[in-house]
């Protein structure tokens, strides 16, 4: 291993054989969103979930700032709405910024909360610098160490189905680390007005803002 990280100048254009493409992987893992409530991290993971639920879905609160907040926000929502499934979709960079939240979640272990970490091993928004996960750091082990009871790492197509089933079953908090190719699918436009999205989310869920 060289002493300096291997800087990459851009995303791979093609997904190598046997490596998961992120949009496909997240679509398979989420399955039918049904009544699930979503909180996402920034950038790529925001687009991944909007690809599944649609840019105008009021059931998805997506961050465009406050990096590191997604999992804790999902936890607050899951505790507030114990009868609804809550899914957090985030990336390796966002989750590493507040990895202790996995311990906060694990101690409480809400059965209606699941977390998908889309791990492309890069900081895609800032110039494709390699993240810690591309250099051996394993966030799934951190989730296990944080006492989250159901943890899977998905590397290939054949592993998606079982992980998707685990996310649906909700027997304690679930965590899926899905390793994907460092690609940048087209971004999906959505207003960045968090106050407006908050109001829409609450209106749809609670019948009032």
């Amino acid at each position: 291993m060289s002493s300096k990280p291997n800087l990459r100048l851009g995303p791979d254009q093609d997904v190598a054989d046997g490596v998961l493409e992120r949009r496909h992987a997240i679509t398979e893992l989420v399955g039918d969103p049904g009544e699930t409530l979503f909180v996402s991290g920034l950038a790529g993971s925001k687009d991944d979930i909007l690809h599944v639920v649609g840019a105008d879905s009021p059931a998805a609160f997506t961050l465009s700032g406050a990096m590191g907040a997604a999992v804790a926000m999902g936890l607050g929502l899951a505790l507030a709405q114990p009868d609804r499934k809550v899914m957090v979709v985030t990336g390796d960079g966002e989750l590493l910024m507040n990895v202790g939240t996995l311990a906060t979640v694990g101690v409480l272990n809400p059965s209606n909360l699941s977390i998908i970490c889309v791990d492309n091993e890069h900081y895609g928004e800032t110039g494709w610098q390699e993240s810690h996960t591309g250099r051996g750091v394993d966030i799934a082990k951190m989730a296990e160490g944080g006492q989250i009871p159901n943890v899977r790492t998905v590397n290939k197509e054949a592993e998606l189905g079982e992980a998707a089933q685990m996310l649906r079953e909700g027997n304690g908090t679930s965590f899926v680390l899905v390793k994907v190719a460092p690609t940048k699918p087209p971004s999906i436009y959505r207003s960045r007005d968090a106050s407006w999205h908050k109001g829409r989310f609450r209106e749809a869920l609670l019948g009032q803002n």
């Binding site: 409530l37 909180v39 609160f61 961050l63 700032g65 406050a66 990096m67 590191g68 907040a69 997604a70 999992v71 804790a72 926000m73 999902g74 936890l75 607050g76 929502l77 899951a78 505790l79 507030a80 709405q81 609804r84 507040n98 202790g100 939240t101 311990a103 906060t104 101690v107 409480l108 968090a194 106050s195 999205h197 908050k198 989310f201 609450r202 869920l205 609670l206």
Partner: protein, 175 residues
């Protein structure tokens, strides 16, 4: 360990019974001992032990999305850990309520606490959070009730600063 002062129990009752707070998040702190212990023992609320204070800011925003009320209990040094997440509160216009036990103010004997103690209120105000200081026991409940009304009814961001005049300064050995 000495008995917690009665106002801490009164404050818990105010938050839970008068304002329906159902999520108490905290990084452990002596100034909030009674509130933390009451929340742990209470099956009707969620007591959320945080690894860092900023989690409690995001937790509150998530709770509000779900129609629940949440408070963050922290020491003034923890305010520094929250600053970027205050942008979620400000930009999203989320209600936010925190009770901050002050260090590094009146009578502080540990020099390490002074810098963040002096920065606490200016940093929060620069982040758009209204700070209400409590110096004596008789102000505690009226000020806290006012803060709850501002946070939960007007959906403002409010911090109640429990000063060392109220809490007393921790004694440190000088030799």
């Amino acid at each position: 360990m000495s008995e917690a002062p009665a106002w801490q129990g009164d404050l818990y009752d105010l938050l839970k019974n008068e304002f329906d707070v159902s999520q108490f998040s905290y990084v452990p702190d002596a100034g909030h001992r009674e509130l933390i212990n009451r929340s742990i023992a209470d099956p009707d609320v969620h007591s959320v032990s945080l690894t860092t204070e900023e989690e409690g800011v995001a937790l509150q925003c998530g709770a509000h999305l779900g129609g629940a009320r949440s408070v963050l209990l922290m020491q003034s040094s923890g305010v520094g850990n929250c600053v970027n997440f205050f942008s979620l509160v400000a930009h999203g216009r989320f209600p936010f309520l925190t009770f901050v036990s002050m260090r590094g103010d009146f009578g502080e004997g540990n020099a390490w606490q002074m810098a963040m103690g002096k920065a606490t209120q200016p940093v929060m105000e620069a982040s758009g959070i209204t700070c209400l200081r409590v110096d004596s026991e008789d102000e505690l409940i009226p000020t806290s009730r006012a803060a709850c009304t501002m946070a939960f009814q007007s959906e403002e961001a409010v911090a109640v600063l429990l000063t060392q005049k109220l809490l007393g300064a921790k004694a440190f050995p000088t030799a």
